[in-house]
C-alpha cells in the first residue's frame, strides 16, 4: 500500500500538465484571505501549493500570465442532474429519479444512490465547465411510486475523469412541503408521520417482519448511517414547514441542510440558532405556489445579515446550470455583500456538502480547480477565459462551441457537415 502511494505521489510530482504558476491575478479566494490583488497561485501535482504576491518560479514551471484578471475557485453547479441526464424530456436518458411504480403500500428506498449512474462523459459536462462550473451536487429525486425520501447523491468534480469524479460523503435527499404531498397521502403532516416511522425502523424499534414496514433491510442500514450523523438535505419552502423541520430535527438529533427556502428569511433567527446552511433560488421572487408566498429577491441578503450560511441553487439543475452565477449576481444586486455572493457558489456549498477540504476555495492544500474570468465573475456579461481542474488546463470547447464554429463561417462549396 505504501509503495502504491509513493508511486502515485511520484506521478503527481512529474505530471507537468498539473503544474502551473498563475501570475498577477486578482485572486478571489472565497476563503479567509478574501481578495488578493496582483497575486500568484502556485499549483503542483494538481494541488494549490502557494497563494501570494511575487511567488518564486520553480525551475521548469509553466507560467500563466493572468494580467490582473479575476481568478476564482471553480464554481458550484448547484444540486444537479449533470451526468444523470442528457435530454430532460427523454426518459431513456434520465437517471436522477426513482419511481418504483405500482400502487401497493408506500416504500422508501434511501439506499437508492444516483451517483452510481453518473456519466462523466455526458455532453453537458464540458458545457457546464465552460461556464466556470467545476463541481456539482448530484441529487436524487422521486417520481411516481417513489417516496419523500428520494435517495442519495454526492458531489462530483466536472473534469470528465471517470476514476476520480466522486468526492466527499453521500447525501440523503428528503422532500417536504406541498411538492411532496403525493408521497405522503396528500398531507404534509403525513410526511412527519412517515419519516418518524422510517426512523423508528432504522433505529431497530420495529421488528423486520412487521406489516407496513417502509424500509428494506438495506434501507434500514442506510438510514441508520444518516441518523448517526450523515448529511441530510431537506427541500422545503414555507416558513411554517421550516420551523416544523427544525423542531423534528432537534428531536431526532439531526442537522439538515435546507434547500428551497423561499420563506427562509422569515425564520432566519431559528435557522441561525440551528446553525443551518440554506440553499436558496436567488431569482425566486414570485409566489410560485402557496408554499412560496413570501418569496423575495433579498432573501439571501436577509439571511446573510442574520448570520445564516447561504448557498445558491441554479435556476436550471442541469443544462443551463451556469445560470447559477447570474443568480449570485442578482442576490448581490439586491443587497448581499459581493464576497458572500461568491461564497454562496463556492465555499458554502463545498463545506455544507462535505468537500470543503478539497474544493470551493483558493487555499493551500486544495484541488487546483480554478477559473479565470474576463471581468467581474458575478456579472452576466463576463465569460470564463480559462478553466483549470487539478491544475490541468481544460479544453475551452464543448459540443456548443463546435456547433458555433461550424455555423460561424460563411458556407463553402460543400455542406457544413464536412466542416470540422
Amino acid at each position: 500500500m505504501k509503495r502504491i502511494l509513493f508511486a502515485l505521489a511520484l506521478v503527481a510530482g512529474t505530471a507537468q500538465a498539473q503544474d502551473v504558476l498563475i501570475r498577477h491575478a486578482t485572486v478571489h479566494t472565497a476563503g479567509s484571505r478574501g481578495t488578493l490583488k496582483n497575486a500568484d497561485v502556485l499549483v503542483q501535482g494538481g494541488i494549490i501549493r502557494a497563494v501570494g504576491a511575487n511567488l518564486a518560479v520553480p525551475a521548469g514551471m509553466r507560467v500563466f500570465e493572468a494580467g490582473g484578471k479575476p481568478l476564482t475557485p471553480g464554481l458550484f453547479a448547484g444540486l444537479s442532474g449533470i451526468g444523470l441526464e442528457e435530454v430532460s424530456a427523454e426518459s431513456s436518458t434520465v437517471d436522477s429519479s426513482l419511481g418504483m411504480g405500482g400502487k401497493g403500500p408506500p416504500q422508501m428506498r434511501p439506499e437508492f444512490d444516483v451517483t452510481l449512474a453518473y456519466n462523466p462523459a455526458s455532453m453537458i459536462v464540458p458545457v457546464a465547465r465552460l461556464g466556470g462550473l467545476t463541481f456539482a451536487g448530484l441529487s436524487a429525486n422521486s417520481t411516481d411510486g417513489g417516496s419523500l425520501i428520494a435517495g442519495q447523491g454526492g458531489v462530483v468534480r466536472l473534469d470528465g475523469d471517470p476514476s476520480a469524479a466522486m468526492i466527499g460523503p453521500r447525501l440523503l435527499f428528503i422532500n417536504l412541503g406541498s411538492g411532496a404531498d403525493g408521497y405522503s397521502g396528500g398531507s404534509r403532516a403525513g410526511q412527519y408521520m412517515l419519516l418518524d416511522q422510517a426512523f423508528r425502523e432504522a433505529r431497530g424499534l420495529t421488528p423486520y417482519a412487521s406489516p407496513n414496514a417502509l424500509l428494506t433491510p438495506a434501507g434500514r442500514e442506510t438510514m441508520a448511517r444518516y441518523l448517526a450523523g450523515g448529511r441530510i438535505v431537506c427541500d422545503v419552502d414555507r416558513a411554517a414547514d421550516i420551523r416544523q423541520l427544525l423542531e423534528f430535527s432537534r428531536k431526532n438529533g439531526l442537522h439538515p441542510i435546507i434547500t428551497g427556502g423561499a420563506e427562509a428569511w422569515k425564520v432566519a433567527a431559528q435557522l441561525k440558532a440551528a446553525n443551518a446552511t440554506v440553499f436558496i433560488h436567488p431569482l425566486q421572487d414570485l409566489p410560485s405556489g402557496f408554499d412560496q408566498l413570501g418569496s423575495r429577491l433579498d432573501n439571501a441578503a436577509l439571511l446573510a445579515k442574520a448570520g445564516v450560511r447561504v448557498g445558491f441553487l441554479s435556476p436550471d439543475a442541469t443544462h443551463n446550470s451556469r445560470k447559477i452565477r447570474q443568480g449570485a449576481g442578482n442576490a448581490v444586486a439586491n443587497g448581499l455583500p459581493w464576497e458572500a455572493g461568491l461564497a454562496a457558489i463556492t465555499r458554502v456549498p463545498a463545506e455544507a456538502l462535505g468537500v470543503g477540504d478539497k474544493v470551493g476555495r483558493i487555499e493551500v492544500g486544495l484541488n487546483a480547480d480554478l477559473v479565470l474570468w474576463d471581468g467581474d465573475p458575478l456579472e452576466v456579461s463576463t465569460l470564463a477565459t480559462s478553466v483549470w481542474m487539478h491544475g490541468k488546463a481544460m479544453p475551452m470547447r464543448s459540443r456548443q462551441t463546435e456547433l458555433l464554429d461550424r455555423y460561424l463561417k460563411a458556407p463553402g462549396p460543400l455542406p457544413r457537415a464536412y466542416s470540422e
Partner: protein, 470 residues
C-alpha cells in the same frame, strides 16, 4: 423638436388599425385602455439608447400627454413639468416581450391557473388567450419592475394551432380589456415539433408524428381557405348590391343574414392570418422545421412574423433575414428536450448578424421577463467574443424595436422618437448588467414604477394580506 403632425398621424393609425375581428365587425372585446393621467416629465443629462440604433450622451428627454415630445440637449422644461436629473442614468424604450404567458399561467401555479393550453383538440384557432388572462397575476408587477411596458400573451404550445395571442400594455388593471394595446394586431400561435405530437400522440391520437403535425396545419388552412372564399364571394356580392348596380332592389336584412356564410371562430382566425391582419408566431426549435413552416406559409399565403424559441435559428439565419422573419430567442436555454439540443449561446448574435436580421430576446417565463436586459447582456458578451456588433445602442433593439416590429406596434412604441408612446425606462446605469435596476418605468408618460418610492410600486390584489400577522 416637437412634432405635432407626427402625433396626429400616429393617432389616426391607431384608430384605423385593422381589427381582424368577426367579419365586418369591430373587436367585440375592445380595448378600454386609457393612459393614466400624467404631467410632463423632463429627464435631464441621461445616456439615451433610442432603439433606433443611436446612443445620445448627456441628452434630455421630454414627455408630455403620454407621448415622447423631444430628445436632445438643453430642452426647455414646460411650466408644469417634473424635471428629473438623470445624470449617470441610462434611458431606454420600455422593454417589450413577444412571448409571455403571464395571466394565462399565473402565479401561484395552481391547477386553477392552468389556462394557456386548450388541449382538447390539436387545432384550436377559435380560442383567444385574452379570455383567460388573470390581470391579478403578480408576474405583471414583477415584469414592470424589470422595465417591461408591453408584452404579447400567447396560448401555450401544446396544440398545432393554439389560438390567438394578444398584446397588452403592462399596466395594473382589474380587467384585461383595460390593458389591451389599442390597435395592436392579434397574434396567432402555432407550434412545431415535439409538444403537439407528445400531447396527442401520447394519448394515441393525432398528431403522433411530425408528419401528422404538418398534415394538421394543412388541413386546417385548407378548410379556412374554403371559408375565406365563401366570405369573399359574399362580401363581393354585398359590395355589388351596395353600389346599386343594375338598380336591383336591395335584399331585406333577414335575407342578407340568411345568405351570409355561418361564422366559424377558428376559421375566422386563420382567415385573418391569411389576409395579413393577424400576425403568425410559431413555436419552432429546429432549423429544418422552420424551413417547412416557411413553405407552409407560402402554400397558404400567410407571413410568419417570428419563430419563437428557435434554438437552431442560427443555422438558417440568412434565410430568416431574407424573408423578414424575426427570431424570438433565449440567451442560453438548451437541452431540455431533443429539439433543443443544438442550442448555442451565440444563437441571437448569429440571427442578428445578417443585413435585415431581426433578433429578439424573449422570455416565455415569469422569471426571464423580469430580466430581459440581463439576457441581452449575456448575448452581447458572446457577440463580442466572436467579433459581432455588441454596442448597447444596437443590442437594445433586441428588447424594444425588434419585438415591436414583430408585434406590429412599431409605429407606436419600441423606440424613443418624438410622437411615440412615452414608454420609457430609467436605469441606474447601463441596463446590460446583473447589477442594473430599472429605477423608473413610464407607460404612456405615467410613472407606474419607481424603485425608490413605495407609493409607485403596484401590488396585485393577490399579494394583499400576506403580512398581516405580526
Amino acid at each position: 423638436m416637437f412634432q405635432p403632425a407626427l402625433v396626429v398621424a400616429l393617432a389616426a393609425l391607431t384608430a384605423t388599425a385593422s381589427a381582424a375581428g368577426p367579419i365586418g365587425n369591430a373587436d367585440p372585446y375592445p380595448s378600454t385602455y386609457h393612459a393614466i393621467a400624467s404631467t410632463p416629465v423632463l429627464l435631464r443629462h441621461a445616456t439615451v439608447l433610442t432603439g433606433t440604433g443611436e446612443r445620445l450622451d448627456d441628452s434630455d428627454l421630454l414627455m408630455s400627454d403620454g407621448r415622447i415630445v423631444a430628445l436632445g440637449k438643453d430642452l426647455e422644461a414646460p411650466a408644469n413639468a417634473t424635471v428629473i436629473d438623470a445624470t449617470g442614468k441610462w434611458v431606454t424604450p420600455g422593454i417589450i416581450d413577444v412571448h409571455s404567458h403571464l395571466g394565462v399561467y399565473s402565479s401561484p401555479g395552481v391547477d386553477a391557473h392552468s389556462d394557456g393550453n386548450e388541449m382538447s383538440s390539436p387545432v384550436t384557432p377559435n380560442v383567444w388567450a385574452e379570455h383567460a388572462i388573470w390581470p391579478q397575476d403578480p408576474g405583471f408587477e414583477a415584469a414592470l419592475a424589470g422595465g417591461v411596458t408591453s408584452m404579447q400573451i400567447l396560448p401555450g404550445s401544446g396544440n398545432l394551432i393554439g389560438g390567438r395571442g394578444v398584446t397588452v400594455k403592462n399596466v395594473p388593471s382589474v380587467t384585461y380589456q383595460a390593458m389591451k394595446f389599442p390597435g395592436a394586431p392579434w397574434g396567432l400561435k402555432m407550434a412545431c415539433g415535439e409538444n403537439p405530437k407528445r400531447v396527442y400522440g401520447g394519448k394515441g391520437g393525432s398528431p403522433m408524428t411530425r408528419m401528422g403535425n404538418v398534415a394538421g396545419y394543412r388541413a386546417a388552412f385548407i378548410e379556412a381557405q374554403s371559408y375565406m372564399r365563401d366570405w369573399d364571394k359574399y362580401m363581393a356580392g354585398q359590395a355589388k348590391a351596395g353600389s346599386g348596380e343594375g338598380k336591383k332592389k336591395k335584399k331585406s336584412d333577414a335575407k342578407e343574414a340568411e345568405d351570409a356564410p355561418t361564422r366559424d371562430l377558428g376559421k375566422e382566425t386563420l382567415m385573418g392570418a391569411m389576409k395579413g391582419d393577424i400576425r403568425v408566431h410559431i413555436h419552432c426549435y429546429r432549423a429544418d422545421e422552420m424551413a417547412i413552416m416557411l413553405d407552409l406559409a407560402k402554400e397558404f399565403g400567410f407571413k410568419v412574423a417570428a419563430f419563437h424559441h428557435g434554438v437552431e435559428a442560427y443555422k438558417i439565419a440568412d434565410r430568416l433575414a431574407a424573408e423578414g422573419v424575426c427570431g424570438a430567442l433565449w440567451a442560453d436555454w438548451w437541452g431540455f428536450k431533443m429539439e433543443a439540443l443544438d442550442g448555442i449561446q451565440e444563437n441571437i448574435a448569429l440571427v442578428d448578424r445578417p443585413v435585415n436580421g431581426c433578433a429578439i430576446v424573449h422570455s416565455d417565463s415569469s422569471e426571464g421577463i423580469q430580466r430581459l436586459n440581463q439576457e441581452a447582456a449575456k448575448v452581447m458578451a458572446q457577440s463580442r467574443r466572436i467579433g459581432l456588433d455588441a454596442s448597447p445602442e444596437h443590442a437594445i433593439r433586441w428588447l424594444t424595436a425588434n419585438p415591436a416590429k414583430a408585434l406590429g406596434i412599431e409605429s407606436q412604441t419600441g423606440t424613443l422618437e418624438a410622437g411615440k408612446m412615452a414608454d420609457v425606462v430609467v436605469w441606474n446605469g447601463t441596463p446590460f448588467s446583473v447589477y442594473a435596476h430599472a429605477e423608473k418605468v413610464f407607460v404612456d408618460g405615467a410613472l407606474l414604477y419607481d424603485r425608490n418610492d413605495k407609493a409607485r410600486q403596484p401590488k396585485s390584489d393577490f399579494m394583499l394580506g400576506l403580512g398581516v400577522s405580526p
